[in-house]
Symmetry: C2
């Protein structure tokens, strides 16, 4: 996400929302990097465990140049030896919960948000209790763009399912035990030995590293939980394949998670009435 | 390593060796990327297990424009699900063996060659039986140069030993179990939470990923073997620290491994007489 330059937030806001708000005054709420230290106004992280009520109690507000009050949802931090932070994903997770039937919402869930920095969020009875980050997406992108692995990749090829699954299976097998810093080199040597052509090498590496991510999740849990995914459709499809090969139950992919999540926080904060749920679809 | 453009090999050779060879004709031998598909002449890989005699029996030759015969040492390949290749390191390993006392040379050794793509070579009774590659060095360099982790790193700082060791310990501990794709994000969050300053973040990440490499080696072996290192002094010092924290015996660092290795292969090939060992120091 590219943020506007300092001072440019008001103009961007006016461009996106000005017409709507001129027609009818509405409560305004936003989440994500708008609340980071480099955003419009910093909204300090809420610690885990975090529910919608915790986030709504810590909304950060600012008054825009056009006279509207903007509410910014804080991100979430988990303290510990390896601290973890997220901004925006917490709101998507709450939105996903809102879209679930009661019996699912009150169970134990693992919510995956694939992306440059994928988040894996544990939810227990509607509360975010723990999450991990994997830099798989960003590291894959820079390895393809800047490392020796990219030199022989043909990256405009259509999705190579067999190569992707070969990568996943390698990461999940004993062969993958040395981890992603080591197995990555096989994307090159399987090319050198004529096993993978240029069109297959990128998706093999993608499968390999997503496979290591899924393997780490599998090893960190006693029983494989119900998994829900939020994100880009093509990326969720890759993770769905990898999770399936690792033995996870078939994941459900959520839609409209951000909108539903913002609504959930706005409702918990009293910015909108609970009865007007359908308003978001107006 | 930047190879000369096609046709430029002769000029480069003449520049480096012309004066010596004009003074006195000598056998000429080389190893490394000069024998790759993009090198002067491709020297096909020898498969493991590989001894000096196997390499010397497969020297590739070419006649230079100046009328000298160049012998190129082949690289080594290990076939399997994750093929591995090396060029140059096999010669360094043979050189290291040559420098060892008899009782060490005939044991089981683990030889580490840290670099962009570090190699870990198993040697049994003077024979290269197995090796692994870790792309730790190159992936660290591109993560620092191109990922979000680099944005807050201050890379001109002197070596930050405590931050490096913090990274190693994290990778070796239960906290590191999710692997390098996940723990890498802590280089950012420990900055965000004020635990590591910009000068510490680069060496923390270096320690973290070298730690994951050493942890993978530790987990892949039943008994920790005697370790010998070949390479850049500062990098070997980092690996020595990490190996020590992982419980490996203090490694020995080898010198003149390339020269001794080329000599060993030349001798095995009959290019030089066995009696003239001291010639290399002339």
């Amino acid at each position: 996400m590219h943020l506007p330059k300092p001072g440019g937030f008001d103009a961007a806001f006016e461009h996106v929302c000005g017409d709507w708000l001129a027609e009818q005054p509405l409560p305004v709420i936003a989440c994500g990097m708008v609340g980071s230290a480099q955003g419009w106004r910093e909204a300090p992280y809420c610690p885990t465990p975090a529910r919608a009520a915790d986030l709504s109690a810590h909304l950060r507000t600012l008054d825009t140049a056009s006279g509207h009050r903007l509410h910014i949802v804080p991100g979430v931090i988990e303290h510990g030896a390896l601290p973890n932070v997220m901004r925006g994903e917490e709101t998507q997770v709450l939105g996903l919960l809102r879209g679930l039937a009661e019996e699912h919402r009150n169970g134990h869930l693992l919510v995956g948000l694939p992306g440059s920095h994928s988040k894996w969020v544990r939810v227990e009875n509607g509360c975010i209790t723990h999450f991990d980050t994997f830099m798989t997406g960003e590291l894959y992108a820079i390895a393809s763009a800047h490392s020796i692995l990219g030199r022989t990749q043909q990256r405009d090829a259509p999705f190579q399912a067999a190569a992707f699954e070969r990568g996943v299976r390698t990461a999940l097998s004993d062969t993958g035990a040395l981890g992603p810093l080591s197995t990555a080199f096989s994307a090159r040597t399987l090319g050198l030995t004529g096993v993978l052509d240029g069109a297959e090498q990128a998706d093999y590496l993608s499968g390999l590293w997503i496979g290591h991510e899924v393997q780490a999740l599998r090893q960190s849990t006693v029983a494989l939980p119900e998994v829900l995914l939020i994100g880009n459709e093509a990326l969720c499809e890759r993770y769905t394949r990898a999770l399936g090969l690792a033995g996870f139950p078939h994941p459900t992919t959520a839609t409209q998670a951000t909108e539903r999540g913002l609504w959930a926080v706005a409702e918990a904060a009293g910015l909108v009435a609970s009865a007007s749920k359908e308003f978001i679809h107006a």
